[in-house]
Protein backbone atom coordinates (compact mmCIF):
# COMPACT_ATOMS: atom_id res chain seq x y z
CA UNK A 1 0.00 0.00 0.00
CA UNK A 2 1.29 3.47 -0.84
CA UNK A 3 1.81 6.02 1.85
CA UNK A 4 -1.09 8.19 0.68
CA UNK A 5 -3.65 5.51 -0.07
CA UNK A 6 -5.70 6.28 3.03
CA UNK A 7 -5.59 10.01 2.80
CA UNK A 8 -5.37 12.08 -0.36
CA UNK A 9 -5.39 15.64 0.90
CA UNK A 10 -3.92 17.65 -1.96
CA UNK A 11 -3.72 17.49 -5.75
CA UNK A 12 -0.05 16.57 -5.31
CA UNK A 13 -1.11 13.61 -3.14
CA UNK A 14 -3.51 12.53 -5.89
CA UNK A 15 -0.74 12.87 -8.49
CA UNK A 16 1.57 10.70 -6.37
CA UNK A 17 -1.23 8.16 -5.80
CA UNK A 18 -1.75 7.82 -9.54
CA UNK A 19 1.99 7.38 -10.08
CA UNK A 20 1.97 4.59 -7.48
CA UNK A 21 -1.07 3.06 -9.20
CA UNK A 22 0.78 3.03 -12.55
CA UNK A 23 3.94 1.69 -10.91
CA UNK A 24 1.88 -1.25 -9.65
CA UNK A 25 0.24 -1.66 -13.07
CA UNK A 26 3.47 -1.56 -15.11
CA UNK A 27 5.16 -4.05 -12.78
CA UNK A 28 2.13 -6.35 -12.98
CA UNK A 29 2.15 -6.14 -16.78
CA UNK A 30 5.82 -7.20 -16.93
CA UNK A 31 4.81 -10.31 -14.97
CA UNK A 32 1.72 -11.10 -17.09
CA UNK A 33 3.08 -10.49 -20.61
CA UNK A 34 5.29 -13.63 -20.71
CA UNK A 35 2.18 -15.78 -20.17
CA UNK A 36 0.32 -14.00 -22.96
CA UNK A 37 3.34 -14.44 -25.26
CA UNK A 38 3.41 -18.18 -24.46
CA UNK A 39 -0.29 -18.52 -25.43
CA UNK A 40 -0.01 -16.53 -28.69
CA UNK A 41 0.50 -18.26 -32.06
CA UNK A 42 0.66 -15.58 -34.78
CA UNK A 43 4.30 -14.70 -35.42
CA UNK A 44 3.71 -10.94 -35.65
CA UNK A 45 1.66 -10.98 -32.45
CA UNK A 46 4.39 -12.85 -30.56
CA UNK A 47 7.06 -10.44 -31.86
CA UNK A 48 4.92 -7.41 -30.98
CA UNK A 49 4.22 -8.62 -27.43
CA UNK A 50 7.89 -9.46 -26.87
CA UNK A 51 8.93 -5.99 -28.01
CA UNK A 52 6.31 -4.45 -25.75
CA UNK A 53 7.54 -6.48 -22.77
CA UNK A 54 10.96 -4.85 -23.20
CA UNK A 55 9.31 -1.41 -23.54
CA UNK A 56 7.27 -2.05 -20.39
CA UNK A 57 10.44 -2.74 -18.40
CA UNK A 58 11.61 0.67 -19.62
CA UNK A 59 8.32 2.21 -18.40
CA UNK A 60 8.97 0.86 -14.92
CA UNK A 61 12.42 2.47 -15.00
CA UNK A 62 10.98 5.78 -16.20
CA UNK A 63 8.49 5.78 -13.33
CA UNK A 64 11.40 5.19 -10.93
CA UNK A 65 13.17 8.21 -12.46
CA UNK A 66 9.99 10.26 -11.99
CA UNK A 67 9.68 9.29 -8.32
CA UNK A 68 13.34 10.28 -7.88
CA UNK A 69 12.87 13.65 -9.59
CA UNK A 70 9.95 14.32 -7.23
CA UNK A 71 12.07 13.35 -4.23
CA UNK A 72 9.91 10.29 -3.51
CA UNK A 73 10.67 6.61 -3.05
CA UNK A 74 9.14 4.34 -5.73
CA UNK A 75 6.13 2.66 -4.14
CA UNK A 76 3.07 0.82 -5.42
CA UNK A 77 -0.52 1.20 -4.41
CA UNK A 78 -3.27 -1.29 -5.12
CA UNK A 79 -4.75 -0.91 -8.60
CA UNK A 80 -8.07 -2.77 -8.80
CA UNK A 81 -8.51 -1.54 -12.39
CA UNK A 82 -5.48 -3.33 -13.85
CA UNK A 83 -6.21 -6.36 -11.65
CA UNK A 84 -9.73 -6.49 -13.14
CA UNK A 85 -8.52 -6.01 -16.72
CA UNK A 86 -5.99 -8.84 -16.29
CA UNK A 87 -8.53 -11.09 -14.52
CA UNK A 88 -10.86 -10.64 -17.48
CA UNK A 89 -8.04 -11.45 -19.93
CA UNK A 90 -7.28 -14.66 -18.02
CA UNK A 91 -10.94 -15.68 -17.80
CA UNK A 92 -11.64 -15.14 -21.50
CA UNK A 93 -8.43 -16.84 -22.71
CA UNK A 94 -9.14 -19.78 -20.40
CA UNK A 95 -12.40 -20.43 -22.22
CA UNK A 96 -10.91 -20.60 -25.74
CA UNK A 97 -9.44 -23.75 -27.24
CA UNK A 98 -9.00 -22.59 -30.86
CA UNK A 99 -5.53 -21.05 -31.31
CA UNK A 100 -6.63 -18.55 -33.94
CA UNK A 101 -9.61 -17.30 -31.92
CA UNK A 102 -7.29 -17.10 -28.91
CA UNK A 103 -4.91 -14.78 -30.81
CA UNK A 104 -7.81 -12.40 -31.51
CA UNK A 105 -8.79 -12.47 -27.82
CA UNK A 106 -5.19 -11.85 -26.71
CA UNK A 107 -5.01 -8.76 -28.92
CA UNK A 108 -8.28 -7.43 -27.46
CA UNK A 109 -7.01 -7.99 -23.92
CA UNK A 110 -3.65 -6.39 -24.63
CA UNK A 111 -5.41 -3.37 -26.14
CA UNK A 112 -7.57 -3.03 -23.01
CA UNK A 113 -4.34 -2.89 -20.99
CA UNK A 114 -2.86 -0.31 -23.38
CA UNK A 115 -5.95 1.88 -23.17
CA UNK A 116 -5.86 1.84 -19.39
CA UNK A 117 -2.26 3.03 -19.51
CA UNK A 118 -3.00 5.60 -22.22
CA UNK A 119 -5.73 7.23 -20.13
CA UNK A 120 -3.62 7.17 -16.94
CA UNK A 121 -0.47 8.62 -18.54
CA UNK A 122 -2.65 11.23 -20.29
CA UNK A 123 -4.13 12.23 -16.93
CA UNK A 124 -0.71 12.38 -15.26
CA UNK A 125 0.68 14.62 -18.03
CA UNK A 126 -2.28 16.97 -17.70
CA UNK A 127 -1.90 17.08 -13.91
CA UNK A 128 1.89 17.52 -14.10
CA UNK A 129 1.37 20.69 -16.18
CA UNK A 130 -1.10 22.09 -13.64
CA UNK A 131 1.16 21.22 -10.72
CA UNK A 132 4.30 22.63 -12.36
CA UNK A 133 6.10 19.27 -12.37
CA UNK A 134 7.77 20.22 -15.65
CA UNK A 135 10.78 18.00 -14.98
CA UNK A 136 8.76 14.78 -15.32
CA UNK A 137 6.54 15.64 -18.30
CA UNK A 138 9.06 14.50 -20.91
CA UNK A 139 9.35 11.06 -19.30
CA UNK A 140 5.56 10.65 -19.09
CA UNK A 141 5.10 11.74 -22.72
CA UNK A 142 7.79 9.29 -23.90
CA UNK A 143 5.93 6.38 -22.30
CA UNK A 144 2.52 7.58 -23.49
CA UNK A 145 3.79 7.64 -27.09
CA UNK A 146 5.06 4.06 -26.77
CA UNK A 147 1.71 2.89 -25.33
CA UNK A 148 -0.17 4.56 -28.18
CA UNK A 149 2.19 3.03 -30.74
CA UNK A 150 1.81 -0.42 -29.14
CA UNK A 151 -1.99 -0.09 -29.35
CA UNK A 152 -1.84 0.87 -33.06
CA UNK A 153 0.56 -2.00 -33.76
CA UNK A 154 -1.88 -4.46 -32.16
CA UNK A 155 -4.67 -3.14 -34.40
CA UNK A 156 -2.40 -3.64 -37.42
CA UNK A 157 -1.57 -7.21 -36.35
CA UNK A 158 -5.29 -7.97 -35.95
CA UNK A 159 -6.41 -6.39 -39.21
CA UNK A 160 -3.43 -6.61 -41.58
CA UNK A 161 -1.44 -9.63 -40.37
CA UNK A 162 -4.22 -12.16 -40.66
CA UNK A 163 -5.30 -12.64 -37.04
CA UNK A 164 -8.94 -11.59 -37.49
CA UNK A 165 -9.17 -13.24 -40.92
CA UNK A 166 -7.90 -16.57 -39.59
CA UNK A 167 -10.09 -16.39 -36.49
CA UNK A 168 -13.13 -15.88 -38.74
CA UNK A 169 -12.27 -18.69 -41.16
Amino acid sequence: MGIFTKNIETFDDLFLHQLQDLYYAENKITKKLPGMIAKATNRDLVAGLKAHLEETKGHVERLEQIFKKLGKKPESTDCPAIDGIIKEADEVSGEIADKEVLDAAIIASAQAVEHYEITKYGTLISWAYSLGHDAVIGLLVATLKEEEAADKKLTAVAEDKGVNRKAAS
Copy 2:
Protein backbone atom coordinates in the same frame (compact mmCIF):
# COMPACT_ATOMS: atom_id res chain seq x y z
CA MET B 1 -23.54 -15.35 -16.75
CA GLY B 2 -23.79 -15.39 -20.52
CA ILE B 3 -24.50 -18.56 -22.38
CA PHE B 4 -20.99 -18.75 -23.84
CA THR B 5 -18.96 -17.83 -20.77
CA LYS B 6 -17.76 -21.36 -20.20
CA ASN B 7 -17.05 -22.27 -23.75
CA ILE B 8 -15.93 -19.94 -26.50
CA GLU B 9 -15.53 -22.21 -29.52
CA THR B 10 -15.68 -19.85 -32.48
CA PHE B 11 -14.84 -16.25 -33.32
CA ASP B 12 -18.60 -15.60 -33.38
CA ASP B 13 -18.82 -16.93 -29.80
CA LEU B 14 -16.03 -14.54 -28.82
CA PHE B 15 -17.84 -11.64 -30.55
CA LEU B 16 -21.03 -12.46 -28.66
CA HIS B 17 -19.10 -12.79 -25.38
CA GLN B 18 -17.63 -9.31 -25.86
CA LEU B 19 -21.09 -7.90 -26.63
CA GLN B 20 -22.36 -9.45 -23.38
CA ASP B 21 -19.35 -8.01 -21.55
CA LEU B 22 -20.14 -4.51 -22.86
CA TYR B 23 -23.85 -4.95 -22.09
CA TYR B 24 -22.87 -5.64 -18.47
CA ALA B 25 -20.46 -2.67 -18.48
CA GLU B 26 -22.91 -0.15 -19.98
CA ASN B 27 -25.65 -1.19 -17.56
CA LYS B 28 -23.24 -0.92 -14.64
CA ILE B 29 -22.15 2.55 -15.77
CA THR B 30 -25.78 3.78 -15.87
CA LYS B 31 -26.02 2.70 -12.21
CA LYS B 32 -22.69 4.28 -11.13
CA LEU B 33 -22.86 7.64 -12.95
CA PRO B 34 -25.56 9.16 -10.68
CA GLY B 35 -23.23 8.69 -7.67
CA MET B 36 -20.34 10.35 -9.52
CA ILE B 37 -22.63 13.23 -10.52
CA ALA B 38 -23.69 13.66 -6.88
CA LYS B 39 -20.04 13.90 -5.76
CA ALA B 40 -18.96 16.37 -8.48
CA THR B 41 -18.87 20.13 -7.87
CA ASN B 42 -17.70 21.87 -11.06
CA ARG B 43 -20.75 22.93 -13.05
CA ASP B 44 -19.35 21.86 -16.43
CA LEU B 45 -18.33 18.48 -15.03
CA VAL B 46 -21.80 17.88 -13.59
CA ALA B 47 -23.43 18.88 -16.88
CA GLY B 48 -21.03 16.67 -18.88
CA LEU B 49 -21.62 13.62 -16.69
CA LYS B 50 -25.41 14.14 -16.79
CA ALA B 51 -25.34 14.33 -20.58
CA HIS B 52 -23.20 11.20 -20.71
CA LEU B 53 -25.62 9.33 -18.44
CA GLU B 54 -28.36 9.93 -21.01
CA GLU B 55 -26.01 8.84 -23.82
CA THR B 56 -25.10 5.69 -21.89
CA LYS B 57 -28.77 4.72 -21.63
CA GLY B 58 -28.81 5.03 -25.41
CA HIS B 59 -25.76 2.75 -25.65
CA VAL B 60 -27.62 0.07 -23.70
CA GLU B 61 -30.50 0.36 -26.17
CA ARG B 62 -28.12 0.16 -29.13
CA LEU B 63 -26.59 -3.04 -27.74
CA GLU B 64 -30.11 -4.47 -27.41
CA GLN B 65 -30.73 -3.62 -31.07
CA ILE B 66 -27.45 -5.34 -31.98
CA PHE B 67 -28.40 -8.53 -30.09
CA LYS B 68 -31.74 -8.46 -31.91
CA LYS B 69 -30.12 -8.03 -35.34
CA LEU B 70 -27.89 -11.03 -34.57
CA GLY B 71 -30.93 -13.08 -33.53
CA LYS B 72 -29.74 -13.24 -29.91
CA LYS B 73 -31.35 -12.37 -26.59
CA PRO B 74 -29.64 -9.50 -24.71
CA GLU B 75 -27.60 -11.08 -21.93
CA SER B 76 -24.78 -9.97 -19.69
CA THR B 77 -21.60 -11.77 -18.79
CA ASP B 78 -19.33 -10.90 -15.89
CA CYS B 79 -16.90 -8.09 -16.69
CA PRO B 80 -14.12 -8.03 -14.08
CA ALA B 81 -12.43 -5.18 -15.98
CA ILE B 82 -15.24 -2.63 -15.53
CA ASP B 83 -15.80 -3.89 -11.97
CA GLY B 84 -12.12 -3.19 -11.24
CA ILE B 85 -12.15 0.23 -12.91
CA ILE B 86 -15.23 1.24 -10.88
CA LYS B 87 -13.82 -0.23 -7.65
CA GLU B 88 -10.70 1.89 -8.14
CA ALA B 89 -12.83 4.99 -8.80
CA ASP B 90 -14.75 4.38 -5.55
CA GLU B 91 -11.59 3.73 -3.53
CA VAL B 92 -9.80 6.86 -4.75
CA SER B 93 -12.81 9.15 -4.38
CA GLY B 94 -13.40 7.78 -0.88
CA GLU B 95 -9.96 9.00 0.17
CA ILE B 96 -10.44 12.61 -0.94
CA ALA B 97 -12.05 15.30 1.19
CA ASP B 98 -11.20 18.39 -0.89
CA LYS B 99 -14.01 19.06 -3.39
CA GLU B 100 -11.71 20.48 -6.05
CA VAL B 101 -9.23 17.60 -5.88
CA LEU B 102 -12.20 15.23 -5.97
CA ASP B 103 -13.41 16.78 -9.25
CA ALA B 104 -10.01 16.08 -10.82
CA ALA B 105 -10.14 12.47 -9.58
CA ILE B 106 -13.70 12.00 -10.88
CA ILE B 107 -12.60 13.14 -14.34
CA ALA B 108 -9.66 10.69 -14.30
CA SER B 109 -11.95 7.83 -13.26
CA ALA B 110 -14.58 8.70 -15.86
CA GLN B 111 -11.89 8.79 -18.55
CA ALA B 112 -10.65 5.33 -17.47
CA VAL B 113 -14.23 4.09 -18.01
CA GLU B 114 -14.40 5.83 -21.40
CA HIS B 115 -11.11 4.30 -22.52
CA TYR B 116 -12.26 0.82 -21.58
CA GLU B 117 -15.35 1.32 -23.70
CA ILE B 118 -13.36 2.88 -26.56
CA THR B 119 -11.05 -0.13 -26.80
CA LYS B 120 -13.94 -2.63 -26.55
CA TYR B 121 -16.14 -0.94 -29.16
CA GLY B 122 -13.06 -0.58 -31.39
CA THR B 123 -12.41 -4.31 -31.09
CA LEU B 124 -16.06 -5.20 -31.77
CA ILE B 125 -16.12 -3.03 -34.92
CA SER B 126 -12.94 -4.69 -36.20
CA TRP B 127 -14.35 -8.17 -35.47
CA ALA B 128 -17.75 -7.33 -36.98
CA TYR B 129 -16.02 -6.50 -40.29
CA SER B 130 -14.13 -9.81 -40.27
CA LEU B 131 -17.25 -11.77 -39.38
CA GLY B 132 -19.43 -10.04 -41.96
CA HIS B 133 -21.82 -8.60 -39.35
CA ASP B 134 -22.25 -5.50 -41.50
CA ALA B 135 -25.74 -4.82 -40.12
CA VAL B 136 -24.42 -3.92 -36.67
CA ILE B 137 -21.33 -1.89 -37.58
CA GLY B 138 -23.18 1.42 -37.86
CA LEU B 139 -24.62 1.05 -34.35
CA LEU B 140 -21.21 0.19 -32.88
CA VAL B 141 -19.55 3.12 -34.64
CA ALA B 142 -22.25 5.54 -33.41
CA THR B 143 -21.56 4.58 -29.80
CA LEU B 144 -17.77 4.60 -30.25
CA LYS B 145 -17.96 8.17 -31.56
CA GLU B 146 -19.97 9.25 -28.51
CA GLU B 147 -17.48 7.59 -26.13
CA GLU B 148 -14.56 9.33 -27.86
CA ALA B 149 -16.38 12.67 -27.74
CA ALA B 150 -17.18 12.17 -24.04
CA ASP B 151 -13.50 11.47 -23.34
CA LYS B 152 -12.40 14.64 -25.18
CA LYS B 153 -15.05 16.68 -23.36
CA LEU B 154 -13.73 15.46 -20.01
CA THR B 155 -10.21 16.54 -20.99
CA ALA B 156 -11.59 19.97 -21.92
CA VAL B 157 -13.42 20.26 -18.59
CA ALA B 158 -10.21 19.36 -16.74
CA GLU B 159 -7.92 21.66 -18.69
CA ASP B 160 -10.09 24.53 -19.93
CA LYS B 161 -12.92 24.77 -17.38
CA GLY B 162 -10.73 25.24 -14.35
CA VAL B 163 -10.87 21.80 -12.69
CA ASN B 164 -7.10 21.14 -12.73
CA ARG B 165 -6.27 24.79 -12.00
CA LYS B 166 -8.54 24.86 -8.94
CA ALA B 167 -7.31 21.45 -7.73
CA ALA B 168 -3.73 22.74 -7.90
CA SER B 169 -4.45 26.04 -6.14
